[in-house]
């Protein structure tokens, strides 16, 4: 019996997750739709005055991105846990660290990445200054990567529980806060005419650390959840 090498295995796993996602376009659409709808709540709640909205836009966009990522993180491992394929994955000879990374990468490509690409549209709708839009897209691109990785830890720890949904937000939101600080900080710096680069550099550093450490925690969490 020949076993697949780890890169090939993870490539296949990534493709499987992406194909599964693309076959249910509504699943990809849901976080984006959620993003659009919550954005639409703010002009209703804060009043439609463009200058008020423009002031709050960096914070609004980042908080909504964070919430839609949180909601989509919950389901990363759910269906595979329920049909037993997660157990097979744990038994596979390839290291779980890289498999977990493939899962998170697929989830990020289908949510955070698309969200970052679409964010300029929503930024314009909220009246954000055009000068800050590149900083917004760049900070979301880096930041949602961290969010997906950290969200994966929460998903792995709660996948075996009956009511994981509420719990995952309690576990994960404290870790989202630093990302939010630097993410909206980048946009605010760009708005003030300063360089967003220092904030983006810190977000990049967070992403490097999350890529290195989070898969180990996800793997440990998955083993615990499958034991239960």
């Amino acid at each position: 019996m020949n076993t697949l090498s780890t890169p090939v295995f993870c490539g296949l796993l990534l493709r499987r997750q992406l194909v599964l996602g693309l076959r249910k376009p509504i699943e990809i659409g849901n976080p984006l739709l959620f993003f659009a709808m919550v954005i639409a709540l703010f002009p209703l709640g804060l009043g439609p005055a463009p200058d008020t909205l423009a002031v709050f836009a960096p914070g609004i966009l980042w908080i909504v991105a964070l919430l839609s990522n949180l909601l989509s993180s919950d389901g990363v491992f759910r269906s595979d846990f329920e049909d037993g394929s997660l157990e097979q994955l744990l038994l596979a000879p390839q290291p779980l660290y890289f498999s977990a990374l493939a899962y998170v990468l697929a989830q990020w490509l289908l949510t955070g990445f698309l969200l970052a690409l679409l964010s300029p549209l929503f930024a314009v709708m909220l009246g954000l200054d055009a000068a800050a839009i590149p900083a917004l897209a760049a900070s979301l691109l880096l930041g949602t990567g961290v969010l997906s990785l950290v969200g994966g830890i929460g998903a792995a720890l709660t996948v075996g529980l009956q009511r994981g949904g509420m719990l995952i937000s309690l576990l994960i939101l404290p870790f989202y806060m630093p990302v939010l600080i630097f993410g909206s900080g980048a946009v605010q710096a760009a708005l003030a005419g300063a360089s967003a680069a220092p904030y983006l550099a810190i977000l990049g550093a967070m992403l490097c650390m999350a890529v290195a450490l989070a898969p180990a925690a996800i793997a440990a969490g998955l083993r615990i959840s499958v034991d239960a």
Binding site: L171, P174, A228
Partner: protein, 248 residues
């Protein structure tokens, strides 16, 4: 050395030894708590600028210091339980979470009471205060996760992973007053270089910090003893302790 390590894993041994530690540590801590409070509140000079309101420092700073240290204790206990599968480390980790949460809460409340006369506001979204609030959420997250699992052995493992992940945040909280200069003053006590606090105020403060560490230890041991009894309720030694006849 190793026999000591193995004994740590034995519930009856830990129960007995913690009992004999508590017998002198608990009264001593309570005495020190009263003595330190009286020293700090009555016998130190009032502050040049803040008058008497600064005296809350003798509760605020020790609670905050020990709340942060408590997280390390919890994370280290979590690591020990993950690596060596030691049952007592599980219990220690579980016992740390509510104590740490309570101390963090005390630090936040006293800080807010102190903030009113000195800064003119109960609450500001300052880096140190916000990060202590995050610490409270981290502690509560561990408690919530533990309660969510039916199987307590797995709950402890899951909490260990979560508390290890959380250690990433602790250095940030610890250094936040130095990195983001805002309303909250930077740390006054430094072990290297000069402290910016007068010795007559420093000594009672250090005394209270040590007392709070002792208080943390006492609560931890008391909590652990209760948890040990609950987990081992069916074993012979607990039944003998409770004065029950052994079955059969």
């Amino acid at each position: 050395m190793w026999s000591f390590f193995h004994k740590l894993g034995s519930p009856p041994w830990l129960y007995r030894i913690s009992g004999s530690i508590l017998r002198w540590l608990l009264p001593l801590t309570l005495l020190a708590l009263v003595a330190g409070s009286v020293w700090g509140l009555l016998f130190t000079a009032p502050d040049f600028r803040q008058g008497n309101s600064y005296r809350i420092i003798y509760i605020h700073v020790p609670a905050a210091v020990v709340a942060l240290a408590g997280y390390y204790v919890m994370a280290i206990a979590g690591a020990v339980s993950l690596i060596w599968r030691m049952k007592m480390a599980d219990i220690a980790m579980r016992a740390c979470a509510p104590i740490g949460a309570a101390l963090t809460f005390v630090a936040l409340v006293t800080g807010s009471i102190w903030g009113k006369p000195t800064w003119g506001t109960w609450w500001v979204w300052d880096a140190r205060i916000t990060s202590m609030l995050i610490l409270l959420f981290l502690y509560l997250g561990v408690v919530a996760l533990y309660e969510a699992y039916e199987n307590k052995a797995l709950a402890a493992k899951a909490c260990a992973v979560l508390s290890l992940v959380g250690t990433v945040n602790i250095p940030i909280i610890y250094k936040s007053v130095d990195w983001w200069y805002s309303l909250h003053q930077p740390a006054s006590i430094k072990f290297t270089g000069g402290s910016t606090i007068d010795p007559s105020m420093l000594y009672p403060l250090l005394f209270m910090i040590v007392t709070f560490y002792a208080l943390f230890t006492c609560s931890l041991l008391l909590n652990m003893r209760a948890e040990i009894l609950q987990r081992e309720a069916r074993t012979g030694w607990v039944r003998r302790l409770a004065g029950e006849r052994e079955p059969g």
